[in-house]
């Protein structure tokens, strides 16, 4: 795994496409398969937070992107499904430490759509976690005809808004690996890379 320190403007550029729902693109390959993207938020008069994203940048994956935190310590986390050629259903628990951050808002987005399929997306905040799920629901035809998975290029699954608590020093938001699973239409368990994000009070480069 490589660690790369990115300038803030570069990070924004990387994140810019995360909201797009692009069934046709499979995402561009980055120079490295796995990396951590670290940004430094330096707000005048406020402590600086270092945001480190970990995870693969190519291949089937559940990616994260972060906007912020802002002056109030609020940041937005976007969860996207990336480059999964045959995805029928997916489920996970997103974990966070409630002593460091609070969940302010959570919104799910339609994923896995397709002709003849009405996707359902589950998003349910529970203490310390956000339960996430998505699956294709057959709209018509025979319930015994073959299932079809979605070809996922880049689909926004959830947008979550957190606020760093005043006493917070660091916060990790990740997917509970033991609660994370994805299946193809053939009911095979897919191997995905599940991203994580860490927020650390203090400048990465010192200030």
């Amino acid at each position: 795994m490589q660690r790369i320190v990115l300038l803030p403007w570069l990070l924004v550029g990387v994140l810019a496409g995360c909201g797009a729902d692009d069934e046709s693109t499979s995402g561009g390959a980055a120079a490295a398969d796995v990396q951590s993207d670290t940004s430094v938020t330096d707000v005048a008069g406020e402590p600086t937070w270092t945001v480190t994203l970990s995870g693969a940048t190519t291949g089937p994956r559940v990616a994260m992107a972060v906007d912020g935190p802002d002056d109030a310590g609020t940041f937005t986390l976007r969860v996207t499904l990336r480059d999964i050629p045959d995805l029928f259903g997916i489920a996970t628990h997103l974990r966070y430490d409630p002593t460091q951050v609070e969940l302010v808002d959570a919104k799910e987005h339609a994923v896995l759509a397709g002709d003849g399929w009405a996707p359902r997306v589950l998003l349910k905040p529970v203490p310390e976690r956000v339960l996430l799920g998505a699956a294709r629901i057959r709209e018509g035809g025979s319930p015994y005809s073959p299932l079809e998975g979605a070809k996922v290029g880049n689909q926004l699954w959830a947008t979550l808004q957190f606020r760093l608590l005043d006493a917070a020093t660091s916060a990790t938001i990740d997917f509970d690996p033991a609660r994370s699973i994805a299946r193809s239409a053939g009911y095979e368990v897919l191997t995905l890379d599940w991203a994580s994000v860490q927020l650390q009070r203090g400048a990465a480069g010192g200030r």
Binding site: A91, R120, V189
Partner: protein
């Protein structure tokens, strides 16, 4: 002995699937909750023309009576008498039938028969009166060849049985034999509705008489099997077929043919058919061990195409011979009869099956159904003919064992459990509790659910026994049982003893539960997965049984982990003596995401999850439940108002009990998302 064509499997199933691809199911359920149970029975109006409705309709018909006569059992010999019978009593009737020789002529116009049957009886004690039981007949004469004197009379019992009584004065001394020749004629009702399968057919292709007893039955003995010689008179150019060894024919003075069949084995079952038959497949090594011939008796234009059936039947014989013991007879005839017969019938050494079975082609539509039928009927050579059920309460020793044998054959050769699963669903979903009877009950014949209980539940119960004691012990037990009751009559308890011998343990609880009691497993699950202090997890399952009787069973579980690893294991569910709730606990290294009970439907059961939505049984309602339900969305056990048995159905995902996995079940998941299973 008989099995109706399972039209919901094989071709029928393929048809269902085909139809299902072009039509949206339209459900109209008339099910009402059973008091005290969340599980409901399907009460579906019969769908005219539906293959399953037709199948059930015939089953109801047979349940009216013993079936072999096409008559209700009013003799008292079956039923009340059977429950009291013991093998020793069979020979305490004072005399027995040693042999019968019958000559049968058909009258297609009536239709009817003219029969001359000579019954050789042996006195076991001084015998002044012998009585024979027939269907209703017109007796022309009763004579004693050789100058012996006797008087006779004919009477009818309850307007449905004919009794020929012959009085000897002086009585026949013990050890002496007498021949009694009875000549009679009878009119046949081939449209009889009281039998599972058509009693007879007379059409341009076939003259078949399968369930009219032209031989004489001992009127007092529960079982009085005999050796026999059957002569069938046919027009020139026609061929007769019957069980037993075919001895050829002679040409009568008027040009007709007189065919002869020798049945060297003692049996009470028979039947014959006349058609433009060709006999093929008479290589002497067809039957395992080279003991005899596997003959295919088909219409001449089916002779070439029936090779596939011949190969299949040979494979079935090989399969059974290796597991149940060597094929016991001199040979076996598979005889083609009219399609309107509706299924198969398997007397000793001869099997009658409907016409289309003989035209089946591998991989073509219907092939699996025909294989199931053929395998069921061939299994009767062991179950029902070699080892015979003592009484109606032991009918599972014939029909359940034959169906189970067919299921394990198709499971192995066709690589599908669909036959077992369809049998399972048939009982579980269609038998109304008021019609249910214990599998070992003498009254099982009197219920309209006779077939779902004896054939379908019976096969599944035997399959559960296989899983309980293991494949080897099961097959060893069957071999022990077949050897111990070779040409003999057995009770269910005898099968139990054989299984206990092979398994090396007491199985009384299993037989008491499944043969002595009614019902199925009705269970509600809830689950906790608890992280252990020292690492790893404890999986706790709470199994609450809701049926009238809490069942003991071996529960297969399949655990799926996040990394795709799958672990299968079984746990014993033993309800406490004073309750119905069992707590099962076991440790695993990783947290399971999905705990699936009985994924391949080995158990005769209806399962549900407490509160419905945690179908993955990992202790929390979450996205996994959504995903797993999505894979099964819109599957149903009802289609167009008709029961639709399919191996992809699992009511565990039908959280709202609507007989369909639908939006209501998704609503439950979304409504309960985040809910954690209660601690126990």
């Amino acid at each position: 002995m008989r099995r109706l064509l399972s039209s919901t499997s094989g071709r029928g199933f393929a048809l269902w699937v085909l139809l299902a691809t072009v039509a949206t199911p339209s459900l109209s359920l008339a099910a009402a909750p059973q008091p005290g149970s969340p599980f409901r029975t399907l009460h579906l109006p019969a769908l005219p023309g539906s293959s399953f409705a037709e199948r059930i309709s015939h089953h109801h018909a047979e349940a009216d009576g013993r079936g072999a006569y096409g008559l209700p059992d009013t003799s008292g010999l079956v039923g009340m008498g059977a429950t009291m019978a013991a093998f020793g009593a069979l020979l305490e009737q004072g005399w027995r039938i040693e042999h019968q020789e019958a000559e049968v002529e058909t009258d297609a116009a009536l239709p009817g028969l003219a029969v001359a049957v000579t019954v050789t009886v042996e006195a076991l004690e001084p015998t002044g009166l012998v009585q024979f039981r027939f269907p209703l007949i017109d007796v022309d004469s009763v004579q004693l060849p050789g100058g012996a004197t006797a008087t006779w009379e004919y009477g009818e019992s309850f307007g449905q049985l004919g009794i020929v009584a012959v009085t000897f004065d002086p009585p026949i001394p013990p050890g002496d034999k007498r021949d009694i020749e009875i000549r009679y004629s009878a009119t046949l009702d081939c449209n009889a509705k009281t039998t599972l399968l058509r009693t007879c057919t007379f059409d341009e292709q076939f003259q078949q008489v399968l369930f009219f007893r032209y031989f004489a039955d001992h009127a007092k003995a529960l079982h009085a099997p005999y050796t026999s010689t059957l002569h069938v008179i046919t027009p020139a150019g026609r061929t007769a077929a019957a069980p037993g060894d075919p001895m050829g024919y002679e040409v009568l003075a008027d040009g007709r043919l007189r065919w002869t069949f020798e049945q060297a084995e003692r049996t009470e079952n028979g039947g014959f058919s006349i058609a433009d038959y060709a006999v093929t497949g008479t290589e002497p090594d067809d039957v395992p061990g080279g003991k005899g011939w596997l003959r295919l008796v088909t219409l001449t234009d089916y002779a070439g195409g029936a090779k596939a059936l011949h190969s299949s039947a040979k494979a079935i014989l090989d399969y059974y011979g290796a597991r149940f013991g060597a094929f016991p007879w001199n040979g076996l005839s598979l005889i083609q009869v009219a399609n309107n017969f509706g299924g198969g019938y398997a007397p000793l050494s001869g099997i009658f099956m409907l016409r289309n079975v003989f035209g089946a082609k591998p991989q073509a539509q219907g092939w699996s159904s025909w294989n199931e039928l053929t395998a069921h009927e061939i299994a009767h050579q062991w179950w029902g003919n070699l080892a015979r059920p003592m009484s109606t309460g032991d009918v599972s020793l014939s029909e359940s064992l034959a169906e189970f044998s067919s299921c394990i054959f198709t499971e192995q050769t066709l690589e599908t459990r669909s036959q077992l699963i369809q049998d399972n669903l048939s009982y579980v979903y269609t038998v109304d509790p008021k019609d249910d009877r214990p599998l070992g009950s003498a009254s099982v014949y009197s219920t309209p659910s006779y077939v779902p209980i004896v054939y379908h539940k019976g096969a599944v119960v035997l399959d559960m026994l296989r899983h309980e004691i293991g494949e080897k012990a099961m097959l060893d037990g069957l071999k022990i049982y077949a050897a111990a009751f070779d040409r003999d009559y057995a009770r269910v308890g005898d099968l139990r003893k054989a299984m206990e011998e092979s398994a090396g343990r007491d199985l009384g609880w299993f037989f008491d539960q499944w043969w002595g009691g009614k019902g199925r497993i009705d269970a509600e699950f809830s689950s906790n997965v608890v992280a252990k202090a020292g690492g790893g997890f404890e999986v706790r399952l709470r199994v609450a049984q809701l049926g009238a009787q809490a069942m003991r069973f071996k529960l297969p579980l399949r655990l799926t982990f996040h990394d795709g690893e799958v672990v299968s294991q079984s746990v014993d569910v033993v309800p406490p003596s004073d309750g119905t709730v069992s707590i099962i606990s076991f440790d695993v290294a990783k947290r399971p995401l999905i705990v699936r009970p009985d994924i391949s439907r080995q158990l005769l059961r209806r399962f549900r999850v407490v509160d419905g939505a945690d179908v993955s049984l990992d202790g929390i309602v979450d996205g996994v439940d959504l995903m797993e339900t999505a894979f099964r969305f819109r599957r149903t056990i009802v289609w167009k108002n008709s029961f639709f048995p399919n191996s992809l159905w699992d009511e565990l995902f039908d959280s709202d009990g609507s007989f369909s996995i639908d939006a209501g079940d998704l609503d439950l998941i979304f409504g309960q998302a985040g809910q954690v299973s209660f601690a126990f």
